[in-house]
Structures are given as C-alpha cells and as structure tokens.
C-alpha cells in the first residue's frame, strides 16, 4: 500500500507540474498571437495622432483666414489702411517670386570639381559638377523646406533653369562655373541633415571626388532675381476660377 501511495504521489506531483506548464503555455501562446493586432493598433494610433494634428493646424488656418477676412472687412468699412495690408501681401508675394533680397538663417553648400588626378582611361566627365548634381541638390534643399535658394547669386525662381551649357551651367540664362555656391534659407539644421543624409546627395558626390563643403549660417542673404520678368505667352485667366 505504501508503494502504491508513493506512486500516486509522484504521479500527482508530475501531473501538477504538467498542469502548470499547460496553463502557462496556453497563456504564453495567446500572448504571442495577440501581439499582432497590438502592432496594428500602434500603427493606427500613429495615423490617428497625425490626423488630429493636421486637423488642428487646419482649424488654426481657418481661424487665421477668417481673422484676415474680418480685418479686410473692417478696413474696407473704414475705407483706410487696406492699402497697408495689401502692401504687406504684395511684399510676401514678391518674396516668394524672388523679386527682393531675402535674409535669414540657412545653409551654404559649395561644390568644387574633383581635385583627384584623373587616371588614364577614366571618363573626365565624372570629376566635374554637372547640372544634374545641382538639380538634385536644389531638389533636396527644397524638400527640406528651403524658402529661398540661389546658385552663385542667381536666385532660383519657378521659371529658373539649371541646364548644361558646355563647360558651364546656365542658370537664369546666366552662365556660371565651378565652384558653385548654393545658398538656401530655411531651418539650417534640417537643411544640413538633408544634404548629409546617409546615402544622400553628399555621399554620392563625394564618391565621385566632387568637393562638398557645407556650412550653417545664422544669417545669410539670398539676392533677388535681377533681370526683368517677361511673360510673352502666359496670360492670367480673368473671371471665374
């Protein structure tokens, strides 16, 4: 009987352990499966938060615009000062169009042709700064929020070209040559990190031996577009939208 009891006890002990294991395992595996929807939830949460912020900023914008409208209306009723507001608007528009010098913090990027001695058989083209390099760089800067950009003091406008012109590059129909000094006004830190991004424009250019100097400036001046603006073909559409 004693032997029988001992058998029972061992069996019971092991059975207890087994039950414990089963319960723990059951809970653990449900944990593993339920981890998946959690991931989705986090993702959705991020989207929701973004939407909320966007909504908030749009609401602010609506308020701003309404405020402006009210100001206009008030001024129109008084019949005075409207000119001042319109002038301010005009100033903004001129700044955007590149018709005035602008200043502010930003980034100065200097591109120089490669100093490396070319090997026989190498294509010398790869050692030069090309229009495409400048286009890419300007694109990167714009993407990083640059508000005004100039290359060798040629202000970039909506109509500016950056085009290969033999050994030089034509910008605003002015030929400029290396070294290229690109000034961009904007958040200098954002601009710098955009240029220096891993696998980004700076690494690509450095790979070809093109010198890239990047310098943050607390205050730099981007000059205005100095040539006359002419529209031979485009006409504003009047009436309607």
């Amino acid at each position: 009987m004693i032997v029988k009891n001992r058998t029972q006890l061992t069996l019971s002990f092991v059975a207890l352990l087994l039950g414990l294991l089963i319960a723990v395992q059951l809970r653990s595996s449900t944990d593993v499966y339920s981890a998946m929807p959690d991931l989705r939830v986090t993702e959705m949460r991020a989207v929701l938060m973004e939407t909320i912020t966007q909504n908030q900023s749009l609401t602010n914008e609506v308020e701003e615009v309404r405020d402006k409208l009210r100001q206009y209306e008030e001024l129109a009723m008084k019949g005075e000062g409207a000119l001042e507001l319109i002038q301010k608007e005009l100033g903004n528009a001129r700044m955007l169009a590149g018709l005035v010098d602008v200043q502010g913090p930003g980034l100065v990027v200097t591109l120089t042709d490669s100093q490396a001695a070319s090997m026989p058989g190498d294509n010398p083209n790869v050692y030069l700064v090309h229009d495409e390099d400048l286009l890419k760089l300007v694109n990167v800067l714009s993407a990083a929020g640059a508000e005004a950009i100039s290359i060798n003091d040629q202000r970039l406008l909506a109509t500016s070209e950056i085009h290969c012109a033999g050994p030089t590059i034509s910008i605003n129909n002015v030929r400029v040559g290396a070294p290229f000094v690109i000034k961009a006004i904007g958040n200098s830190e954002t601009l710098e990190s955009a240029v220096k991004m891993r696998d980004g424009i700076m690494e690509t250019l450095n790979f070809y031996g093109i010198g890239v100097q990047v310098k943050r400036e607390a205050n730099l001046v981007v000059p205005a577009f100095k040539r006359p603006i002419r529209f031979d073909y485009a006409q504003p559409v009047t009436g309607g939208k």
Partner: protein, 119 residues
C-alpha cells in the same frame, strides 16, 4: 487514480491564476517540452496500468525528456534545421501509441471483469 487528476487540475489552476509567463522567444521550445512532458505522463499512466511503473524512471524521464526536447528544438533553431519537427513527430507518435495501449488495457480489464462476473 483520482489524486493525479486533482493535481493536474490544481496545477492548471495555479498556472492560470498566477502571473507566471514565458518570454515569447522561448514559447516555441516550451511547446515542444510540453509535448515531451505530456508523452512522459501518458507513458507513466500506461506503465501503471501494465504494473511496470517505476517512479524513478518516470520522474527522471519526465524532466529529461522535457528538457532535452526543448534543448533540441533550441539547437535546431540555431543550426537552421527544424529539429523540433523531429521531436514533435517522435513524441506525437508515441503519444498516440500510449493512448491506444491505455485504451486497450482498460478495455481488456473491463471485459475480464465482465467475464468474471458471468462465471
């Protein structure tokens, strides 16, 4: 036979109501270990019914099978071979074998008893 079943339920309850849990990374090995443990227990039940039960063999078998199965699955993962498949296969087959034997023994005992009653 009642006490082990009570113990099983008690263990399950303890596992359910305490907050013991296994890290997610170890859960796959744990399941293989669990299968080995289950196989050991069924083997023990069978041995009891066959009157060949030895508690030392049973207890050591329970722990070593569970640990070895888990370790093997872990090793397989490190080697990039699905070694846990082998464990699942081996223990799964034995599990069903044991179950079948247990069933046969119980039926044989029951029919023996019925015959004895008749005679």
């Amino acid at each position: 036979m009642l006490l082990p079943i009570v113990a099983l339920l008690l263990g399950f309850a303890i596992g359910q109501f305490t907050k013991i849990s296994i890290p997610a990374a170890l859960a796959p090995y744990m399941s293989v270990s669990l299968l080995a443990a289950l196989d050991s227990v069924l083997g023990g039940v069978r041995a009891t019914l066959e009157d060949t039960f030895d508690d030392l063999i049973f207890v050591t078998g329970f722990f070593s099978n569970a640990l070895l199965a888990g370790a093997l699955a872990f090793l397989g993962d490190k080697l990039g071979v699905n070694l846990y498949m082998a464990a699942i296969f081996a223990f799964g087959v034995r599990l069903f074998e044991n179950l079948a034997l247990i069933r046969r023994i119980i039926i044989a005992k029951a029919s023996n008893r019925a015959k004895q009653k008749k005679s």
